[in-house]
Symmetry: C2
């Protein structure tokens, strides 16, 4: 299946604003589609099936694994989480750009399966600002915030393997930069092969 | 020497508007510097040493070859043409972005020496439009134009090895796209290693 759209993977420090950037991309431009993950974890209050996640049984999830139906999947704390492959491929083939909001391990699995995927990692401008953002949410204990910051410090070791680091200092700028990087990717020569072939044919015809 | 700026290589079909795009980048933004090639060919009327080319003797050119002083060089019709290495490295180290306007063979040599260089290939939107542009210059015979179009058809075989194909349909758009691609390249994770290292240090300090 030809893949015309761009597959963009978004990861980032917890609290850096990855989710906000994705929401804004969806709101500001009408060409993005965000993959909904599948999980075996039970829904929490307020979560809607098909919006927050596709909630399925362990048996159903394992059948899809067996059928090679995930772009990437992992098990966290006894529950499966995965990105169903078919809807992603369908959107890309239709020319839409697809966003996956996933963790680093999943991101690198996607890179293996789709070497042409664009991997973005969202960071806050400074460590202190990341701490401030986590605290200002007001939803977590100090210990939980410290845990997130420790995870961020650990994760910083691998983010050089992403394609682009998005510094979320000014939100508007970060959204515009992300959109521009995804769209500019389409002028890559490797994606312009039909254009090159057409020009070549036209020039050969003219000079025959 | 650390290379902070971006090295952008511009090639393109003769008549596609490569020179115009480079002139506009220089005029519209103040962060570009265009390398002046060195040649052993004698100056033509109206050509100024140090502007059109650096005109040197064959002996001087070969001394620079021996000292590994060229980013790339080639011999065409008995004359040497080359890109002096030192000024390019100096501008990059100072944070400037450098543009080289060179042929495909030179472009691929630069890619070998600088894998991080960005290679742009400028095309007209169609073969017929390229022919029309060459004709409208009014400076060449029909046979010369046919020769240029044949060279373009031949060159089209290798331009998939460039990074980006710039379709010069609307000049303003092509200039803006080129500028944006060069500047966005700086957010590449591979170029953000100092930023990543700083964030990691800050996060480790906070969570100690």
């Amino acid at each position: 299946m030809e893949r015309k759209g761009i597959l963009a993977v978004m990861s980032g420090f917890s609290g850096a604003g990855k989710g906000t950037i994705v929401s804004r991309l969806l709101k500001d431009y009408d060409r993005y589609w965000v993959s909904v993950s599948m999980t075996t974890r039970p829904p929490r209050p307020g979560e809607t099936d098909g919006v927050s996640y596709h909630f399925v049984t362990r048996e159903a999830f394992e059948e899809i694994i067996a059928a090679d139906g995930f772009l990437e999947y992992a098990e966290y704390q006894g529950n499966y989480y995965g990105t169903p492959k078919a809807p992603v491929l369908e959107h890309l083939a239709a020319g839409g750009d697809v966003i996956l909001e996933i963790e680093t391990v999943g991101a690198f699995k996607v890179r293996e399966a789709f070497p042409e995927a664009l991997l973005f990692y969202v960071v806050a401008p400074t460590g202190a600002e990341l701490k401030r953002r986590l605290e200002s949410r007001g939803t977590e204990t100090e210990a939980q915030i410290l845990g997130r910051l420790k995870k961020a410090a650990k994760e910083a070791e691998v983010i050089n393997r992403y394609d682009y680091i998005l510094v979320n200092d000014d939100l508007d700028e970060a959204v515009a930069a992300c959109h521009s990087l995804i769209q500019r990717e389409k002028t890559r020569a490797g994606r312009s092969l039909p254009l090159i072939a057409r020009l070549r044919e036209e020039l050969e015809e003219i000079t025959e």
